[in-house]
């Protein structure tokens, strides 16, 4: 029986699954915390060295001191290098320059390296999330097991999607920016030039969304259809995304909107500002981490929502329950990473 759930319904169901398995978001939170911690110690030591005996420390507790940061950045180029330029370049109409990556130093360079490590761990985590979501009663152990089982394939998808995203940025956003430089100057007014930039940005976002949805769809089907050979699973994933683009895009937009809303709420409430009287250090850190955890709950909800959007039959159809050994002589096909223990999952 076909189930045609709407995008909000899929997303809400995904959120429900995420809330029912909070250890998934917890795992993601732990992974990100550990990865981020790598740069925090040198950053903390530098900040303590610079600020602890500084008379500027008083005013720096509550609000950023633009002059102090500007001086710090200039007098310690080894800490960040061209990281601020890279960030500004990513937000510019022209796009980031390669020279800004080459100019990264210290924390700035390590952050980029950590992002690569985080992407690898993300591939592992996605395998765990999608696998555990299909278990009737899952646990952290199942999360790790499922993550490891699908790690090679998911890492390949992640790297391919990352390459696609970078290529899209380079060839769509930066490339069109360069190609249109002279034409932009010929436009009649600044609003027209801004509209053109907005169009370039929109095109980039659409392509990035397509890459993301395709890769997420492939991942979801990869988990849902272990009965198919890898190539078939891959193409079935692509086909699944192409057959339900509206629903998938709806789930993605809901995820993006809720995440943006959370960030706006954070910036509006601004618990980081206001001095020690407003939020002492420990409550501040707790608040920050609760925020990150909430965001990750939504993120897990998104992946569950995508899985829901691609699944016709009610889940769970797939469970990691050891099946009866196949009859001797029966040649049930297995795949490289899906042993014969796996039973076919739901149909798509």
């Amino acid at each position: 029986m076909s189930r045609r759930a709407s995008a909000p319904a899929c997303f809400l169901r995904g959120l429900g699954l995420s809330l029912a398995r909070p250890y998934l978001a917890l795992s993601l939170w732990l992974i990100q915390l550990l990865v981020a911690s790598v740069v925090i110690l040198p950053m903390s030591n530098t900040l303590h060295e610079q600020l602890d005996h500084s008379p500027a420390a008083d005013r720096m507790v509550a609000t950023p001191d633009f002059g102090w940061w500007e001086t710090f950045r200039r007098t310690h180029p080894d800490v960040l290098g061209s990281f601020p330029e890279l960030a500004a370049g990513l937000l510019s109409a022209e796009g980031a320059k390669r020279s800004d990556i080459q100019g990264l130093r210290g924390v700035g360079a390590v952050t980029l390296s950590l992002a690569m490590l985080a992407a690898v761990l993300h591939a592992f985590a996605l395998g765990g999330i999608l696998g555990a979501l299909r278990e009737p009663s899952a646990s952290l152990v199942i999360f790790c097991r499922e993550g490891m089982r699908r790690f090679p394939a998911f890492l390949a998808f992640t790297l391919a999607a990352a390459a696609g995203a970078l290529a899209a940025y380079r060839w769509i956003y930066v490339g069109t920016g360069k190609a249109l430089t002279a034409r932009v100057q010929e436009l009649d007014s600044e609003p027209q030039a801004m509209a053109l930039t907005a169009a370039r940005l929109l095109l980039l976002l659409l392509v990035l969304a397509a890459i993301k949805l395709l890769s997420d769809s492939v991942r979801a089907i990869w988990v849902a259809r272990p009965d198919l050979p890898p190539v078939s699973r891959f193409f079935a994933g692509l086909a699944a995304a192409l057959s339900r683009p509206g629903r998938l895009l709806g789930v993605l937009l809901l995820y993006a909107s809720i995440t943006a809303g959370l960030y706006l709420l954070w910036l509006f409430l601004d618990p980081s500002a206001g001095g020690e009287a407003r939020f002492a250090l420990v409550p501040l850190i707790l608040t920050q981490q609760v925020f990150v955890f909430l965001r990750l709950l939504v993120k897990v909800g998104y992946y569950a929502g995508v899985s829901e959007a691609l699944t016709r039959m009610p889940s769970p159809e797939y469970s990691y329950v050891p099946a009866a050994p196949p009859a001797r002589g029966s040649a049930a096909p297995g795949t490289a990473d899906e042993p014969l223990l796996d039973r076919p999952a739901g149909r798509i």
Binding site: Q32, S44, Q50, L91, D188, A193, S272, V292, R295
Partner: protein, 656 residues
């Protein structure tokens, strides 16, 4: 005096005699006056004109030739010194080629000067550069003698990339006519057009008639006062502008302009009529432009004397012609704004005030921008920050998000802080060198603009605002309508303050050294009773005298160091428990100075230059030290860093 050529006499007659419009008058004896009649061809992007130059030799030497600036030839091709001096930093836009050709040049007696015209390159010897031309005279012009030269010229305007040109139907016509150089006692001062440099010319009176198609009706702005508007045959319209006692003339035309008018009135200052030629997409920003212009008129006028002209024209260049923005001409400035312009960022206010400020530092105090750019740009940056701070208060930096300007909401303490970018390259050059001798454009900007502004502000803080204002006023009064040099400014400071400030200028204007003071050490420990052998009743005993015996108070030590090359006088403040402070002056000459306080209250912190007088100090983060560590700020920023690092990593991974 040479006889006026008949044709020129006719031209002069047609243009009217040099009578000033009501209320206007010559403010200084003219040296180079121009009567120009020109015609704009918007399709061919050309301006053809006839010019009558009336030039008086006010030097002590005889002139046997004339030298002319032909600025638009900088855009003739990439072999010009202008394009070479860009260092390949910018690619020419399509259709960016421009030129100026002289088709006739004759004296009043009919002598044809054109055959003798040759191009010279006094700065770099570039044989392909045609921005300076020399014309030998049939007989020398003696001191005090006046010469009339008639010139026909054809200017082809470039696509706007630097200051002048066109974009569609927008025209900004500057550096557009053959302009005589400045004759000094040492000879002609007529530099080539270099991308880093600006201009230098003599004062005179301008009477310019501009012939444009009728679709530009009411949309022509120019230097000076518009004295006539009349229809001309062929569906065209003529505008005539006049201005006495200025040293350049620029004009603009664009059918899309929205023209606004306002009047500046302030007790004790002459009324000034303001015109704003605004692009349609910036509608609604006229109030901000006018408010900024008025702030400039008031702020600069109070310190440097009233603005002496009747009009001020503000021009908002078209999109795609921003190269014409942020530029100054006598009584006309180009501003620059954005479609989205948050008020807290103070743009277009800052650029409007800055360009208006050039009406003083360039306009009235007509220093040689080519040779001493700090006298106009740096002095003006300093005054601009003062005016901006008093009229608007602190501003906030902006971030460009895909071309949209977003205020970061972080207050910058003072508009002068934008000059801190000098610290990114403080040792590249000595500040006071000619524009074309700076290592590159970045060093030019850091020194001529930023370091000069910080130096002036430091000087103000060392001598006091009152003395600084007195110096500026004396300088402005002495050199109004003349060509001051750096030495004249220094002399004005000496005379106004009755003090010798040469040491300061030697260490700042004429140095590439940096200033950096730091508190290297600040300690305070409980005083201990002295131990050892002490005299008591003529004998040595291990018991300390009663007045020293009790260990009371704290022994504090502070070491202040000079880490930079340049010594400047600084103050050192020690703050103790109970609110007590100890302030002492240090001439800053030695590499370090140690301060000891025995048995005093407990030291809280030590500060060098606590009032932030030395704005040239390249690193203020080391200007103070607390005795007790306070880890709160570092801990909170660490927590923030962790939080945002988690979010960045998540963003970077969620995309794929």
């Amino acid at each position: 005096m040479l006889r006026v050529h008949a044709g020129i006499a006719l031209l002069a007659l047609a243009g009217g005699a040099w009578t000033s419009p009501a209320g206007a008058a010559e403010l200084t004896p003219p040296i180079a006056s121009y009567q120009i009649s020109c015609r704009l061809d918007p399709d061919r992007k050309t301006v053809e004109g006839t010019e009558l130059l009336t030039w008086t030799n006010r030097t002590r030497v005889t002139a046997d030739s004339l030298q002319f600036h032909l600025y638009l030839n900088a855009f003739r091709n990439t072999l010009s010194s202008f394009w070479r001096s860009t260092g390949g930093a910018r690619d020419p836009l399509p259709e960016s080629w421009g030129s100026i050709e002289i088709t006739r040049m004759s004296l009043a007696d009919g002598t044809d000067l054109l055959p003798g015209l040759r191009y010279i390159a006094p700065d770099d010897g570039n044989p392909h550069d045609r921005t300076v031309a020399e014309v030998p005279l049939p007989r020398p012009v003696a001191p005090g003698e006046t010469l009339h030269v008639a010139i026909d010229f054809r200017s082809r305007l470039p696509r706007v990339s630097n200051r002048s040109g066109y974009k569609g139907d927008f025209f900004f016509v500057a550096q557009w006519f053959p302009k005589v150089g400045v004759l000094e006692d040492s000879g002609w001062n007529c530099h080539q057009y270099d991308a880093r440099t600006e201009f230098f010319s003599d004062f005179g009176n301008y009477d310019v008639t501009i012939d444009v198609p009728a679709n530009f009706r009411g949309k022509v702005g120019a230097t000076g006062v518009r004295v006539e508007e009349r229809d001309a045959p062929g569906g065209r319209v003529l505008y005539r502008f006049r201005q006495e006692s200025v040293h350049d003339f620029a004009w603009t035309a664009d059918p899309d302009y929205r023209v606004h008018r306002d009047v500046f009135r302030e007790p004790g200052a002459p009324e000034v009529e303001l015109f704003l030629f605004l692009q349609p997409e910036h509608a609604g920003q006229e109030v901000r432009h006018f408010r900024a212009a008025k702030a400039g008129l008031s702020g600069y006028g109070r310190v440097l004397g009233p603005y002496p002209y009747r009009t001020l024209t503000l021009v908002d260049p078209a999109w795609g012609a921003r190269g014409a923005g942020g530029m100054e001409y006598p009584t006309l400035i180009t501003c620059g704004t954005s479609w989205i312009a948050p008020g807290s960022v103070q743009s277009p206010e800052s650029v409007t005030i800055h360009e208006f400020g050039h009406q003083y530092f360039y306009g009235l105090l007509a220093s040689n921008e080519f040779e001493e750019p700090w006298l106009d740009e740096g002095f003006n940056n300093y005054m601009q920050a003062r005016v901006l701070a008093s009229a608007y208060g602190p501003n906030t930096p902006a971030l460009s998000v895909f071309g949209y300007r977003v205020s970061l909401g972080i207050p910058i303490h003072h508009p002068l802080d934008s000059n801190r970018r000098y610290f990114t390259g403080p040792t590249a050059d000595v500040m006071a060198v000619p524009s074309f001798r700076y290592r590159d454009r970045a060093s030019f900007a850091l020194n001529a603009y930023n370091k000069t502004a910080l130096t002036m502000a430091t000087l103000e803080r060392l001598m006091g605002t009152r003395q600084m204002d007195r110096s500026l006023r004396l300088y402005a009064d002495r050199w109004r309508f003349r060509h001051p040099k750096t030495g004249d400014w220094i002399q004005a400071v000496q005379d106004a303050t009755k003090q010798d400030w040469r040491w300061f200028f030697d260490r700042t204007f004429f140095s590439s050294g940096i200033v950096d003071y730091a508190v290297a050490e600040a300690k305070s420990a409980k005083a201990r009773a002295p131990r050892g052998l002490f005299e008591s009743g003529g004998k040595l005993t291990e018991r300390p005298p009663p007045d020293l015996a009790p260990a009371s108070g704290y022994d504090s030590v502070v070491t202040v160091t000079r880490q930079g090359d340049v010594p400047l006088p600084v103050e050192v403040v020690l703050r103790f428990e109970g609110g007590r402070t100890h302030r002492s002056a240090w001439d800053g000459e030695a590499r370090w100075k140690r301060f000891r306080v025995d048995r005093g209250p407990r030291l809280i912190e030590a500060l060098v230059d606590p009032d932030e007088k030395i704005l040239l100090d390249v690193d203020r983060t080391n200007n103070g030290r607390r005795v007790e560590a306070d880890p709160r700020a570092a801990a909170r920023w660490t927590a923030r860093s962790l939080f945002w690092m988690q979010n960045i990593l998540d963003f970077l991974t969620v995309a794929w």
